[in-house]
């Protein structure tokens, strides 16, 4: 069993996983490397090409040390590699935490609605349809202008916006499983509603929700880039989207300012999409086994 399962996980799974782990590692370890601060400007190396050597303070002190800009610097003399490392934090926080919020809230709401039906379902549908009908950009604008565009607020808002989608996936899957005979059988054995939801239905619908969550992760990383162009992304912190947006002014002179972060974002989004796709094929195959 273990062998046949592994053989279905080819390179198309391990490469995305490796890349995601790598990016995650970069985001977590960004502070520990011998790198300048993400917003340190080396005025002597503005727009330096990859491989150029400059002098920057390392490790928080004032003393300058030689440092190789492996990916060059931007027009303000900031190290692109450092900013990519720190930008990964914003992208991954937004991309991973927001779907988890949506998964928890929308998922449990959807499961409850699909299982209990009745007024709970109609209320939940009314609320989620309202959220879906409300223009997301307007909500984000309002949040940024009235409450402030911190990473926390942005993550919370984007998480809130993914609730309806997760609600629908959870409800649709719960509806089909709630009708299954094994749920009736569990009920006939005296299982309570809570235990039916948690032990009978959740393990069956979780995979579908996880696959969907991976696609949402990929989507939200792109959304962060789009928001940067509107000036709605996290201010005062490097982010991939922000780097792409800043670089667009110098596309003819320094195309790498936009293309390097865009490529990193591309690989990350591709990885999450591939992973979600593979996982879905894997669960589909398992479903047909049953």
């Amino acid at each position: 069993m273990a062998e046949s399962r592994r053989s279905r996980f080819g390179l198309a799974v391990w490469l995305p996983v490796a890349w995601i782990v790598f990016v995650l590692g970069c985001a977590l370890s960004a502070d520990w490397w011998a790198m300048p601060e993400a917003d340190y400007m080396d005025f002597l190396s503005q727009g330096a090409p990859p491989g150029a050597v400059g002098e920057v303070p390392l490790g928080g002190g004032d003393e300058l040390a030689a440092y190789t800009y492996w990916l060059g610097t931007d027009t303000l003399g900031r190290d692109i590699l450092t900013r990519l490392f720190h930008g990964a934090r914003v992208s991954l926080t937004l991309g991973l935490i927001a779907p988890i919020i949506g998964l928890l809230v929308g998922g449990s709401l959807g499961m409850a609605a699909g299982y209990y039906r009745g007024w709970l379902e109609s209320t939940a549908i009314a609320v989620t349809d309202t959220i879906l009908a409300f223009p997301a950009i307007v909500l984000l604008l309002a949040i940024v202008f009235y409450i402030g565009g911190s990473l926390f607020n942005l993550t919370l808002t984007l998480g809130f916006l993914t609730v309806p989608a997760f609600y629908r996936v959870a409800r649709a899957n719960t509806l089909t499983y709630a009708e299954r005979e094994f749920v009736t059988a569990a009920k006939a054995m005296g299982a309570s509603d809570a235990s039916i939801l948690l032990r009978e239905i959740l393990p069956n619908v979780f995979m579908a929700m996880l696959v969907y969550a991976l696609l949402i992760v990929a989507l939200l990383i792109v959304v962060e880039g789009v928001l940067s162009f509107l000036g709605l992304s996290v201010p005062n912190a490097p982010s991939w989207g922000g780097m792409i947006a800043e670089g667009k002014e110098y596309l003819d002179e320094y195309p790498r300012l936009s293309f390097v972060p865009a490529f990193v974002m591309f690989l990350t989004v591709l990885s999450f999409n591939l992973l979600g796709d593979r996982l879905r094929r894997f669960t589909d195959a398992r479903e047909s086994n049953i």
Binding site: R117, G118, R180, E181, F182, T184, A185, A186, K187, A188, M189, G190, A191, S192, S195, R199, E200, P203, N204, N289, I290
Partner: protein, 338 residues
């Protein structure tokens, strides 16, 4: 096989009176169960026979409250279980008996087991829930149960998933789950219909053996008279939401009075019949349960029906003890012999 003398409580294990279950649909009210009464003594087996749509499954699902929310159970139904009144309209009351005192085996073991839980976990679930067993004790008991339903290598099977087992083994697991808490009543809803013919007898024998060992009462639902023939004490024949004849098994097979029972019996293919004998079928279709015929519900399909049959509904009554039938023009004993 009658109620054992050491049983502290007298009287039947289950007494159902005037059970009605209606479904509210867009076309109208479907009277799926329309006034069913029966009793079942401790340790005995009642076979419920009838064609598809006669209400067999709805009957037992009503007793356990497993119907969809469109179902409506009549208020004047009275159910006594184990000497106490059981309010089958109350989810709370039903939850106390489900699994613990009344357990059920379903038709299709391919769908009645949770695909993502090991079979052991599914057996342990009710042990821990109803009997408050610890993980270790419940596991030991699960292994013993798997062994008792005739599955080899129980210690290995306990950690397997349903898709790793064949249909017959799955149904044995479903039986093990049902037996876990030593229920007083086991309901088997067409437990062999979805199985290979070669396995059907094994499963039925297993049920009979477990029932005898545990002194458990059983309701065996089937559309196959051959299944109930040697394995039940009594048989109730259902037609269009009503019990139309009820008798001890041997008597029903030799001295049936209701023409419908006779028609069911005649539709069983016979080995001794010469080749190419056309199968006897029952002409017509079961009545529409939204607007059933005024008189006897079988009258439109019955060769013996006369005016009275079409006008008035016959009550379920009988001259002899234990044998009741609902018919104005019953077969006499000579005709009944097949």
């Amino acid at each position: 096989m009658s109620g054992s003398p050491q049983d502290p409580r007298d009287g039947p294990l289950l007494a159902v009176e005037n059970l009605r279950t209606h479904f509210h649909t867009e076309r109208g009210v479907v009277r799926a169960i329309d006034g069913v009464s029966f009793t079942l003594d401790r340790g005995r087996t009642l076979g419920v026979v009838g064609e598809s749509g006669s209400g067999k499954t709805v009957l037992v699902r009503t007793l356990l409250g497993l119907l969809p929310s469109t179902a409506h159970v009549g208020e004047d139904a009275r159910v006594m279980f184990d000497g106490r009144a059981l309010d089958i309209r109350s989810e709370k009351a039903l939850r106390r008996v489900r699994g613990r005192h009344i357990a059920m085996v379903f038709q299709d073991p391919m769908t009645s087991l949770n695909p993502v839980m090991t079979v052991g976990a599914q057996i342990m679930e009710s042990l821990r829930y109803h009997l408050g067993m610890g993980r270790g004790a419940a596991r030991e008991r699960a292994v013993a149960l798997i062994e008792s339903v005739g599955i080899p290598m129980p210690a290995r099977r306990v950690d397997q998933y349903p898709h790793q087992l064949s249909g017959g083994l799955r149904q044995r697991i479903a039986i093990a789950i049902a037996l876990a808490c030593e229920p007083k009543l086991l309901i088997a809803d067409e437990p062999t219909t979805a199985l290979d013919v070669t396995i059907q007898a094994e499963i039925l024998d297993l049920l009979a053996r477990q029932q005898a060992e545990r002194h458990m009462a059983m309701i065996l639902i089937t559309h196959d008279l051959g299944v109930v023939a040697g394995r039940t004490d009594d048989i109730a024949v259902m037609y269009a939401g009503k019990i139309v004849e009820r008798a001890p098994t041997a008597r029903l097979f030799t001295a049936m009075r209701m023409p419908y029972t006779r028609a069911l019996m005649d539709s069983i293919p016979r080995l001794e019949a010469p080749p190419n004998t056309p199968l006897k079928t029952i002409g017509g279709r079961p009545p529409d349960l939204i607007d059933p015929p005024a008189g006897c519900r079988f009258a439109p399909r019955c060769a013996r029906a006369d005016d009275k049959c079409h006008r008035a509904e016959p009550p379920l009554a009988g001259a002899e003890a234990g044998h009741q039938f609902a018919c104005w023009r019953p077969l006499d004993t000579a005709e009944a012999t097949p």
